[in-house]
Subunit: 317 residues, 2 copies
């Protein structure tokens, strides 16, 4: 089975959903139309075997993750994902693996109405690079560099479950239900594209939490040339964190990656309106702190103590 | 040195050239504006160590190749390359290697006025996936599926040098000048974006010769549901081919990949005008055959003999 049969049998099998695709898989490049009132957003993420996933994971789950981490990047820009290319490097052709992997790609793209329009299939150590293209109304995408002193800091969901899953991967004393629940958080993140319209309207900055809240919020702070103070007790923890980690739970929520919730900032005078609309739309989010002029990250405790927090997160090298 | 320092020190160092880049490196996604009279072309190619290049090659050359193979894909669509993302997977951080690699990326992108707008840096076995975005006037990009019986088949340059270079990699009896010349053909292909405007105006189909003329022309034939007959003696050979390969030279020109010339088809009544304009613009190309109704590939010999030719080319698995 050669490259072209793999593409034909596993990837060029889903009818195009989007009428803005001029042509997709099968040429040297794909072609799409970008509406003139939209800007084009481009994100690329690579998953490497034994780094971002374990080769023994179900190929379906690996595929979902490759899609979802990119969808999360587009969500972090308050944009809408539209088209994807997949560059897949395989050590050999295992048709069962490929069938399952391709199903994961197609299912997770379908969930967000994204069309797979092209890619590359090569032979080598298992890895995949997905490039995702999205759109936002011109001037409405949200970057990391717009946070201003006084802005409130919010996150879109509870943190720490994905990294708790990683830390418990090899533990034997974890009840099966907990393990299933945590692995699902790790394998099937839920990128927050549901916040895009609200962020476009109100947010001054946004990022997705892939490397850990403290590391990712620090990216916002560096890009915006500001600092941040977080109320330690306001950081929303996944309910299993305190059970397994006791007093280290907040630390994992601050440093654990792979949650793929969004962290964003709002001018304080918009907070009420923002929360009211979010509630109407059934969107839960948590106010966790405030942007300051002073660089760096600080944590306040319920007793009023305020300590500097050195951001820690996943580092690739 | 972590992912972010690598990006800052080596990749986020060239000022943006293009005013259609809204923002580039440094956010979860980059943003560009696509003019409303243009369609967007997207190509992705992965280079894997020991498959597409040898790890002992100069990092500068590996980087150039990663850019140029993608530029060639965009050239094959008769489009103009504009923006690139680079997903780089590195086994470790070697600053000399990275400096040289980054220089290769920036130099080769600059040559085509492409802006590097984003990417990903991960740890793992050496490989890289470049995604290149280009534009063409709406409806003017050229696909593989438009060849019609009677169309003439042309190529934009002499073939076989890159695969001759590969076959002589370990040979000891090759004069140094020949080896340098051939390695340059392999390492620094010359994607034919110079043909884009002419192809947009006249061509019915086009492809770049990455897997070998016979394999790539067969892709045009399959997509267009036609066949092709080539005049064996009209296939332009790199002058070193007959010297090293004697009567096997044409076979290497038909099956050898990595030349990155274009193969394209024209309605016969346009041939004269096409060649006249090409000559005015200093563009050399070669008429090598004709599209037929009958599927498959045939070779005609000077004595009138016509034989079926089974397409062969590089296969990844």
């Amino acid at each position: 089975m050669d490259e072209f049969s793999i593409i034909q049998q596993y990837f060029n099998v889903v009818p195009q959903r989007r009428d803005d695709v001029v042509f997709g898989i099968g040429d040297d490049a794909a072609s799409v139309r970008v509406p003139s009132d939209k800007e084009l957003l481009i994100s690329t993420d690579t998953l490497v075997s034994n780094v971002h996933f374990l080769p023994e994971w179900d190929a379906y789950d690996i595929a979902c993750k490759a899609v979802l981490v990119n969808v999360s990047d587009i969500a972090a820009m308050a944009a809408t994902p539209c088209w994807a290319t997949l560059a897949l490097t395989l050590p050999n052709v295992n048709e069962d693996w490929l069938a399952s992997f391709a199903r994961g790609i197609h299912d997770s793209l379908a969930q967000y109405e994204i069309d797979l329009i092209g890619g590359d299939t090569t032979c080598g150590p298992l890895s995949m690079t997905l490039t995702l293209l999205g759109v936002a109304p011109v001037g409405k995408s949200i970057r990391r560099n717009g946070a201003r002193p006084g802005d409130v800091i919010l996150v879109t969901g509870q943190l720490g479950a994905a990294s708790l899953a990683v830390s418990l991967l090899k533990a034997h004393n974890v009840p099966k239900d907990d393990k299933i629940l945590l692995m699902d958080k790790l394998l099937h993140p839920n990128p927050r594209v549901d916040f895009s319209a609200l962020l476009q309207r109100f947010a001054t900055s946004a990022i997705d939490i892939s490397d850990g809240l403290s590391a990712d919020l620090s990216h916002i702070c560096s890009a915006s040339r500001v600092g941040a103070t977080l109320a330690r007790d306001a950081i929303p923890l996944h309910p299993l964190l305190p059970i397994y980690l006791k007093d280290k739970a907040v630390d994992m929520a601050l440093t654990g990656g792979d949650d793929y919730e969004l962290c964003f900032t709002l001018p304080p005078h918009y907070l009420g309106e923002f929360l009211a609309i979010a509630e109407q739309q059934g969107l839960v989010c948590y106010t966790i702190g405030m942007i300051d002029k002073a660089p760096g990250l600080r944590l306040t405790y319920p007793d009023g103590q305020c300590v500097t927090y050195e951001p820690k997160g996943y580092s690739h090298f």
